[in-house]
């Protein structure tokens, strides 16, 4: 009896049949949003770290302030400020854009710190040697320093990327049509939590392989002392 009620509530086949196409569409939006955040966040983070390596004081200071602020601010707060506060000054953006921008800024801040730590870990002699062969500063950075720095940054970057892409679920708060949005609206519409179960399974389908891959990456790129 108890078990039957449990199955009726959480694994209701009839409800599941009605809502799985919505959840599937939500999965597409989640994956798309996650990919867009990773692309923008990593690119911006790497750009900022490279800029910082030129040791131009005002720029470095601004970058540190940016990185500190967006590592301290909870991502949900950033999303809400962008989506609910900026329209008051005429800067309205769609829920998708606000979520994308907020998460990209947060990822950029973390990625900048990670790349910067990686760049610092490359011995000075490497730069000096490259420069003395006649390479420009940018060439030195691109061909000598960054390739060595990246190896060290891969494990922490993977972890951070997973954490941030999981943050796409926060988009549901401002009604981005991703998995959670369909799962919770479906659950209240049907008066049955089965759509939530579907949503949970959808997240596992996306992220469990990623987490397992990250374990492999961690051992593969581990820093050997």
């Amino acid at each position: 009896m108890e078990l039957q009620r449990l199955i009726f509530s959480f694994f209701n086949a009839e409800v599941a049949a009605r809502y799985w196409p919505d959840i599937l569409y939500g999965m597409w939006v989640t994956a798309y949003l996650g990919a867009a955040v990773i692309a923008a966040g990593l690119a911006a983070g790497l750009g900022l770290a490279m800029l910082r390596s030129f040791h131009f004081r005002p720029a470095s200071f601004a970058i540190v302030v940016f990185a500190d602020a967006f590592r301290a601010l909870p991502p949900l707060v950033v999303i809400i400020v962008l989506f609910f506060a900026f329209p008051y000054v005429g800067l309205a953006m769609s829920a998708f854009t606000a979520t994308w921008l907020a998460l990209s800024l947060v990822l950029a801040a973390f990625a900048e710190e990670i790349f910067w730590a990686g760049i610092l870990s490359v011995p000075k002699g490497q730069t000096e040697a490259a420069r003395s062969t006649g390479m420009s500063r940018l060439q030195t950075l691109a061909y000598v320093v960054i390739p060595q720095a990246v190896r060290l940054t891969i494990p922490p970057l993977t972890n951070r990327m997973i954490a941030i892409t999981k943050g796409t679920a926060l988009g549901s708060v401002v009604a981005v049509h991703e998995i959670i949005y369909y799962a919770s609206s479906g659950a209240s519409e049907a008066g049955n939590p089965t759509p939530l179960t579907l949503g949970a399974l959808a997240y596992l389908a996306i992220f469990l392989p990623v987490v397992l891959a990250s374990r492999w990456i961690e051992t593969r790129f581990a820093w050997k002392r």
């Binding site: 301290a72 900026f86 730590a117 926060l170 997240y203 596992l204 992220f207």
Partner: protein, 223 residues
């Protein structure tokens, strides 16, 4: 410029909603003070169990940790919040929120402590045992202090993440800072409360960010 001040930094509105925001800060702090210590303790328990190296137990613990690492915390919260009543369980909101965060947090702390325990060379345990310390004494006095020190930056960094996580509780109407700020914003039709909340988070968490940065750079410099 004037308009921005009116909408984002309106002192009159801030004065009016301040008591409300302050109560939110207190709830955020209370929730953090429940979730962080219990999360640390249960994470340590997970890591110590893992350290026993029982094959089936380790598979189970790895599955537990991976499962909750793959699950977005908001999904977990909504699932528990929306699902528990159907199981006939009616927990108070504070307990529901704390439970969801603990499941998530303990697996992260567990991973960190596990890495810490593994970073202590096995010679340490052997030496301690050969001096006549029991297994528990060895763990408590020899292994743990070194393990905790080795992963201190990660522990602090995760604690920062946990405190930031408490903002998700606003989604289910838990009256912490972000929730109160959003309600105040809706009532006053002005962005000041939300901007003020962001600034409060910044002031509260910035020292932790600095600390993490310093510890991380130090540990990289040591390599």
């Amino acid at each position: 410029m004037d308009q921005i001040l009116q909408v984002f930094f309106n002192v009159a509105i801030l004065e009016r909603v301040w008591p409300f925001l302050w109560r939110g800060v207190q709830m955020t702090v209370a929730l953090s003070f429940v979730v962080v210590p219990i999360g640390l303790a249960s994470g340590l328990a997970v890591a110590m169990l893992y350290h026993l190296h029982r094959k089936w137990l380790n598979r189970l613990l790895s599955a537990y940790v991976d499962f909750f690492r793959a699950f977005p915390p908001l999904v977990l919260l909504l699932f528990i919040y929306g699902g528990l009543p159907f199981l006939g369980l009616d927990l108070p909101l504070f307990a529901t929120v704390a439970l969801a965060f603990l499941l998530n947090t303990s697996s992260y702390y567990g991973e960190i402590f596990r890495a810490g325990l593994e970073s202590v060379p096995s010679g340490q345990a052997e030496a301690a045992r050969s001096t006549g310390l029991s297994r528990w004494q060895t763990m408590l006095w020899v292994i743990l202090p070194q393990a905790a020190r080795n992963v201190l930056p990660d522990l602090i960094s995760n604690t920062l993440e946990v405190i930031k996580l408490t903002t998700l509780a606003s989604v289910v109407g838990f009256t912490e800072l972000l929730n109160n700020a959003r309600n105040a914003q809706a009532l006053t039709y002005n962005a000041t409360p939300v901007v003020a909340a962001a600034l409060i988070y910044l002031v509260l968490l910035w020292p932790l960010v600095r600390l993490v940065s310093r510890l991380e750079h130090k540990s990289i410099a040591l390599r």
